[in-house]
Amino acid sequence: VTLQIDPDSCVGHGRCYALFPELFAAEPDGTATVSCVQPTAEQLGDARMAVENCPEGAIELTGEAAA
């Protein structure tokens, strides 16, 4: 499972790193980067919520088994 941010879509709302600092970090311009590219099983719920919470749809979680 891989967590990614599309840098072309991220405009720096900052909700991901504010809510889930173990998964994301802030750049000096306020945009976000992934600090944990491969979330653990325990972190998957947070990662999914970060995806849902981003207004820009900039966060992607790939490689999850289809539900």
């Binding site: 405009v11 720096g12 709302h13 900052g14 909700r15 790193y17 504010a18 802030a26 750049e27 000096p28 311009d29 306020g30 919520m49 849902e52 919470n53 981003c54 207004p55 820009e56």
Partner: protein
């Protein structure tokens, strides 16, 4: 779903942001329309399209090539005295460069350093109201708090506070009340804008003479380069003008409406008192619910069918943030205020490339205000018999909020 422009709902063709019906539901027509029409045309405010649903409003915010920020307010006006504000009225590619210059000053790391002085401002402004057992919350706190927190960014001190608040009230006359028939509001607005421009020019003149200027945003802007040249005086004036427009009234209104809600919903208030860690979520949810910036306008750059509307180049379109934030298709139980709501992709700070550049500072100010209020004066209520009203326009709130404050043990 009917064809746009022929929306069958009574009143759709007369919708105006200056006709406000209630604090919680300022524009009920948007709610009535949403299930039936994704867009409609109104003859008010110079004529404009408007959208009703989250997905369409978000998409429009994220497509600046089609929806230009050259005009962001209705009715469409020239940008008096200062010219277009930077970067809110600028389109790509210049917009991207201006945002690159501004962003580091308002990034989370930069605003974190402002927390201690902002908290001191909150305590200082709350103290007299607490000592008096109450007061008018907007004049005592909601208006001066963001102004006091913002002044140091420009190298100004508290002695300038009253003067700047008076200027801002004048500048906002047309934004809140709409155009005046005899131009009187416009003249007062422009006189105040010229005074503001003189004040900012004086700050910049003084900086030019300093050998060791303070490390603040003004100095940062003076040292910044747009591509390969320094920023001009005119560009810096138009940026600082925007800081005034964007950073003060927005926080004031968000605080006034949040305070009214908390004063009248004791169970919600108790959550903040008993668990201050719920405050950041509360500020997001209160912003979603009230949508202080009720709407942004955009100028259509080319003919396009969008959200069912046959838009033409040169048309204006209103993007009602408040409709997006209350869209039942995006938010479960959108009329319920839930401080633990997750996910909460609310659009109160906008979206796309023009996302509020000051949102991290705004979140900090709102959090600190609610923390200090509920720590220092947890027992408060509306003055008896008070019925709040909400101002009109695209940025709106409760202009007066008389409260009484009890002893902390009375919660």
């Amino acid at each position: 779903v009917s064809a746009a422009g022929a929306c069958p709902i009574e009143g759709a063709g007369r919708f105006s942001t200056f006709d406000v019906l209630g604090v919680e539901e300022p524009f009920p027509i948007l709610r009535e329309l949403a299930p039936h029409c994704s867009s409609a045309w109104s003859e008010a405010m110079g004529g404009f399209w408007y959208l009703t649903r989250y997905e369409d409003i978000l998409e429009a915010l994220r497509r600046p090539d089609v929806f230009s920020s050259e005009a962001t307010f209705l009715p469409r006006t020239k940008h008096p005295v200062f010219g277009p504000e930077i970067p809110i009225h600028i389109d790509r590619p210049a917009h991207t460069e201006y945002r690159r210059i501004i962003a580091p000053h308002f990034a989370p790391q930069a605003v974190a350093a402002m927390e201690a002085p902002i908290r001191a401002n909150a305590r200082e402004l709350l103290a007299p109201m607490i000592a008096a057992g109450g007061g008018e919350f907007v004049a005592a706190f909601a208006e001066p708090f963001p102004a006091a927190s913002f002044l140091p960014l420009l190298g100004l001190d508290r002695a300038d506070l009253d003067e700047l608040i008076t200027l801002l009230d004048e500048i906002l006359l047309t934004a809140q009340l709409g155009p005046s028939e005899d131009d009187s509001r416009e003249r007062r607005r422009d006189t105040a804008m010229r005074s503001l421009r003189d004040r900012i020019n004086a700050i910049l003149d003084a900086r030019d003479l300093m050998s060791d200027p303070p490390e603040d945003i003004v100095t940062g802007l003076l040292r910044s380069r747009f591509a390969d040249r320094p920023l001009s005086r005119d560009e810096i004036l138009r940026m600082i003008r925007l800081f005034f427009a964007a950073g003060l009234d927005t926080i004031k209104h968000t605080l006034s409406m949040s305070m009214w809600f908390l004063a009248t919903h004791p169970d919600h208030r108790r959550q903040l008192i008993e668990d201050p860690s719920s405050i950041p979520g509360a500020t997001e949810e209160l912003l979603r619910y009230f949508s202080t910036v009720t709407s942004y306008a955009r100028l259509v750059t080319r003919d396009i069918e969008f959200a069912g509307a046959p838009m033409k180049a040169g048309d204006m379109v209103l993007l009602p943030i408040i409709a997006a934030n209350r869209d039942a298709g995006r938010f479960a139980e959108p009329d319920v205020v839930d401080f633990a709501r997750m996910p909460n992709p609310q659009l109160g700070y906008g979206a796309g490339p023009h996302r509020c550049a000051g949102s991290h500072l705004a979140r900090l100010e709102l959090r600190v205000a609610l923390e200090e209020i509920h720590r220092l004066m947890p027992s408060y209520a509306m003055a008896s018999g008070f019925e709040p009203v909400r101002t009109g326009g695209q940025v709106s709130g409760i202009p007066e909020l008389p409260i009484v404050i009890g002893s902390p043990s009375a919660v």
